[in-house]
C-alpha cells in the first residue's frame, strides 16, 4: 500500500491516489487534493463530498443519478464542480474508493 503526505498528514492511498482508509479524511486534506486536481473547493463542493461520504459509509452505490437527486446540485452543476470525470474526481477528493458503479 502506498502512502502520501497531504496537508502534513500521512494518508494511505492506492496506486491511483484514492484513499484506502476514508477515516483519515479531513476538510483540510480535501482542500489540498482538490487543489492538485485544479479545483478550488467551495461550500457546494463540500456539501457534495459530505453526501458522497455518507452514501459510501451506508454501503450505497455512488451513482451520478443519486447526486442529481440529492437536492444539493443538479447533474449539470455536478459536472461544473468537478470538470471532466466528476464522479471519479469527487470520490478522490472525498477520500473514498474509486466508484465501482456503471451508472
Amino acid at each position: 500500500m502506498a502512502q502520501k503526505i497531504i496537508a502534513g498528514v500521512t494518508i494511505d492511498v492506492n496506486e491511483e491516489g484514492y484513499f484506502t482508509n476514508p477515516a483519515q479524511w479531513t476538510k483540510e486534506i480535501a482542500v489540498e487534493i482538490a487543489r492538485e486536481e485544479g479545483i478550488q473547493l467551495t461550500d457546494k463542493h463540500l456539501a457534495v463530498l459530505d453526501f458522497l461520504r455518507e452514501r459510501f459509509s451506508k454501503g450505497e452505490a455512488l451513482t451520478i443519478r443519486s447526486v442529481g437527486n440529492s437536492g444539493i446540485i443538479d447533474i449539470k452543476g455536478f459536472y461544473g464542480l468537478f470538470p471532466g470525470a466528476p464522479m471519479k474526481k469527487a470520490a478522490k477528493v472525498a477520500g473514498i474508493p474509486k466508484p465501482a458503479s456503471c451508472v
Partner: protein, 166 residues
C-alpha cells in the same frame, strides 16, 4: 503502455435497434463515456429512433419471442409460445424496467438528460426519419440535430476516436 499513452478521447455510438436492451446498452456506454470525460456523440437510426421519439421513449419493450436467453423468474427457460400471448411482452418489459430502476438506472428520457447535462450530444438519422415519417417535433427536445450519414462522419473525426455500433 499504449492504452495510457492513447486514451480514448471521443466516442461515437450508433444505436439502430429499439429494444430495451439495445437502447440501454448504448445509453450506459454513452453516459459512462461522458462520466469519464470522453467527448460523446450518440446517433440514433432505424428502430433506435424509438429511444428519442417522445411517444415511445419511455415505453420500450424487450423481445420475448425468439429470444433464447430469456428466462422465467427462477431461471427456467421462457417458452417462446408464452411470449406470443397478448400482454406478456408488455409485462416482461415492465418487469425489466422496474429491475433497472432498483439499480438506479434511469428511464430513457432521464438517462438522455443526464448524458446531455454532461455535455454529450444526441443526433437522429435523417434517412430513417424520412422512412418512418417522423419530424423533428416528434423527437425529444434534447436532440441536437438531424444528420445525414456524411454529416455524422464529419462529426466523428479526430485522433483517438472510436465509432461503436451497439
Amino acid at each position: 503502455m499504449a492504452n495510457e499513452e492513447f486514451p480514448i478521447k471521443k466516442i461515437c455510438l450508433i444505436c439502430a435497434k429499439g429494444t430495451i436492451e439495445d437502447v440501454y446498452a448504448a445509453l450506459v456506454m454513452g453516459n459512462g463515456a461522458v462520466m469519464e470525460g470522453i467527448e460523446t456523440k450518440m446517433f440514433f437510426t432505424f428502430f433506435g429512433l424509438d429511444a428519442i421519439t417522445k411517444k415511445t421513449m419511455n415505453n420500450l419493450h424487450t423481445g420475448v419471442v425468439g429470444n433464447p436467453a430469456m428466462r422465467m423468474p427462477g431461471g427456467l427457460p421462457f417458452p417462446t409460445i408464452l411470449g406470443a400471448l397478448p400482454g406478456v411482452e408488455a409485462g416482461v418489459s415492465a418487469m425489466m424496467r422496474s429491475q433497472m430502476e432498483k439499480l438506479d438506472i434511469p428511464p430513457v428520457k432521464e438517462f438522455l438528460e443526464m448524458i446531455e447535462a454532461g455535455g454529450g450530444e444526441i443526433y437522429a438519422c435523417k434517412l430513417a426519419m424520412d422512412m418512418f415519417k417522423l419530424k423533428k417535433d416528434d423527437l425529444w427536445e434534447g436532440v441536437k440535430e438531424v444528420l445525414t450519414v456524411g454529416q455524422f462522419y464529419e462529426k466523428s473525426g479526430g485522433l483517438q476516436t472510436q465509432i461503436i455500433f451497439t
